[in-house]
């Protein structure tokens, strides 16, 4: 066993990090596919206020996170599946929630470090009980995603045909946002509110540059997210700097590297038919 895994705090960090990176990558695949990155971003920041409120009344920040993100997801889901005007509505809710968060922190001045850990994550300070909690939430999210997977995919690529085929767009959209809220609440434990995109968006976005196939893209996203998380933890252990920093750096580096290689034509999706159809003589 490597030296860093002999410590129980590192074991907990690896277990939680692996669970959360997996869940975030799977949910993130649909966040990217459905273009709801801003909603995911907003949920994490709204979660910050929830966590700050929980600290204020003396309960586990995770419960505050869950309470705020789930209610915000429900509200966003009720706004419907239409994109017009939704970003504005989300932005307004976000501004109000962040304002509340700042108030909560001011009211509870004793623990500035709590705010820091909510914003940037506390992966090295996870207890065994928290590992179990994140495992339970993670399994619940993956099961939920598995149940709505096919209609969610259908309405993500072809919403009008899906609606005509009997897919309840509004209900599924709201259910999906609830899953995003759960995944985001979990991921905040690892990377904090500010770096949520490192696990939620970057790995699936990177994977989608590599393959147009559904399950391979999901698989690559999970592997990338998990490897980036492990890398961050190991680097944090040996350097003493924040794991969140290394995870975010690895995620961005992988994304940029893949984009560079795809752009240079070294790797990536190839069209089966590279040339245009031959022009026929009867151009008229």
């Amino acid at each position: 066993m490597p030296e860093f895994l002999q410590w129980s705090f590192m074991q907990n960090a690896f277990l939680t990090g692996t669970i959360i990176a997996t869940v975030a990558a799977c949910v993130g695949y649909f966040v990217v596919l459905r273009h709801v990155a801003f909603a995911g971003h907003a949920l994490s920041h709204i979660g910050f206020s929830g966590a700050a409120g929980a600290v204020l009344i003396g309960i586990d920040p995770l419960w505050g996170l869950l309470a705020f993100t789930l209610s915000a997801a429900l509200a966003m889901g009720l706004l419907g599946d239409r994109l017009e005007g939704r970003d504005v509505a989300i932005g307004i809710v976000l501004a109000f929630a962040l304002g509340l968060g700042i108030l909560f922190l001011q009211l509870y001045t004793a623990y500035a470090s709590e705010a820091f850990s909510i914003l940037f994550g506390t992966i090295m300070g996870i207890s065994r009980a928290e590992v179990v909690t994140s495992l339970i939430i993670g399994i619940a999210v993956l099961l939920g995603l598995g149940v709505i997977f096919r209609p969610l995919l259908y309405m993500s690529v072809n919403p009008i045909a899906a609606e005509a085929g009997g897919v309840p767009l509004r209900l599924l959209s709201a259910l999906f946002l609830l899953l995003v809220a759960l995944a985001v609440s979990e991921a905040v434990l690892v990377v904090g509110v500010l770096l949520i995109f490192a696990l939620l968006i970057a790995p699936p976005a990177t994977a989608m540059y590599l393959t147009p196939r559904i399950y391979p893209a999901l698989g690559i996203a999970v592997v990338l997210g998990v490897l980036e998380t492990w890398f961050g933890l190991i680097m944090a252990y040996y350097t003493g700097y924040s794991a969140s920093f290394f995870i975010a750096t690895a995620a961005v580096a992988a994304y940029l590297l893949v984009r560079l290689l795809v752009w240079r034509g070294v790797i990536g999706i190839r069209s089966t038919r590279l040339t245009a159809q031959p022009a026929t003589a009867d151009a008229a």
Binding site: H35, R150, Y154, V157, N158, I160, A164, V167, T211, I269
Partner: protein
């Protein structure tokens, strides 16, 4: 206005109508979008639904899909009242853009037409793959079905959308502006594919278009809509100066030249004099 049923009823008595619309009015926000519309469509009918923007073409399709309720009148599909999510109806919505950054293979999108509405994971099976391959060949899209949809041309995307709508073996196909944004060659290809699908499967299709010309020679009937009112019949019966003048409530000229039809008006051009 009562709609003229110019078309003779088919002689074959065993052909029961696929779509029967009787005196249907649809109001959206209090405004009548479709007004006292009646028509019937039979198996094997290639119907062009023609009209200017705002004439109610998309509303008529949404009515047949059960997404918009009629305010008056009755609609029956296959002899039964309308239901939403009827899998005997295949539907291709108006052109949508596919995003380069979130790729998906054409083949996966087509497969969603089989059971995309069902909960669970889309697991591949031999039966499904065979079905997808069959319908891809039918529309001539097998060569590029493994490419990301966003990389394909408008005509290629349209064929894949058609394959998705056909894979559930519908008896009625609704195509909303499949020819929009296509070049002349792709327009001709799409019309030919739709035509051969209708003939071989003996199903009915309603194809929405702005212009009758790409459909001449392929369609059996035309529904011409204007201001929510409509006329149905063969192209020769409907696209006539007197019929369209009555429909538009405005002097309209129908000019036929070299197999093309030009619908215009002597009064077009305005009357703004100095």
């Amino acid at each position: 206005m009562a709609v003229r049923e110019a078309q003779q009823q088919p002689a074959l008595a065993q052909d029961r109508p696929i779509v029967e619309v009787e005196n249907v009015t649809v109001r959206l926000g209090g405004r009548p979008v479709l007004n006292d519309l009646s028509f019937a469509i039979y198996p094997g009918d290639f119907v062009g639904l023609i009209g200017p923007n705002g004439a109610g073409k998309t509303t008529l399709l949404r009515l047949l899909l059960g997404l918009v309720p009629p305010s008056n009148g009755t609609v029956s599909l296959f002899g039964h009242p309308l239901t939403r999510g009827n899998h005997r109806v295949g539907y291709v919505p108006q052109h949508q853009t596919f995003d380069e950054t979130s790729p998906l293979r054409g083949r996966d999108m087509v497969a969603l037409g089989i059971d995309g509405f069902r909960l669970g994971l889309p697991l591949p099976s031999q039966e499904k793959t065979a079905k997808v391959n069959r319908v891809l060949r039918e529309v001539g899209a097998d060569a590029y079905a493994d490419s990301p949809i966003a990389r394909l041309s408008g005509g290629e995307q349209q064929r894949l959308m058609l394959a998705q709508a056909l894979i559930g073996d519908p008896d009625l196909l609704l195509l909303d502006e499949p020819l929009a944004n296509l070049d002349i060659r792709s327009r001709r290809d799409v019309v030919n594919i739709v035509c051969s699908v209708v003939r071989q499967r003996n199903i009915a299709v309603i194809l929405v278009a702005h212009d009758v010309n790409p459909l001449l020679g392929s369609m059996d009937k035309v529904i011409y809509l204007a201001h929510g009112r409509g006329v149905i019949g063969t192209p020769d019966e409907v696209v006539q100066t007197d019929v369209l003048t009555r429909l538009f409530g405005f002097p309209v000229d129908v000019i036929r030249a070299q197999g093309h039809i030009l619908v215009t008006s002597a009064e077009e051009g305005g009357e703004c004099h100095a």
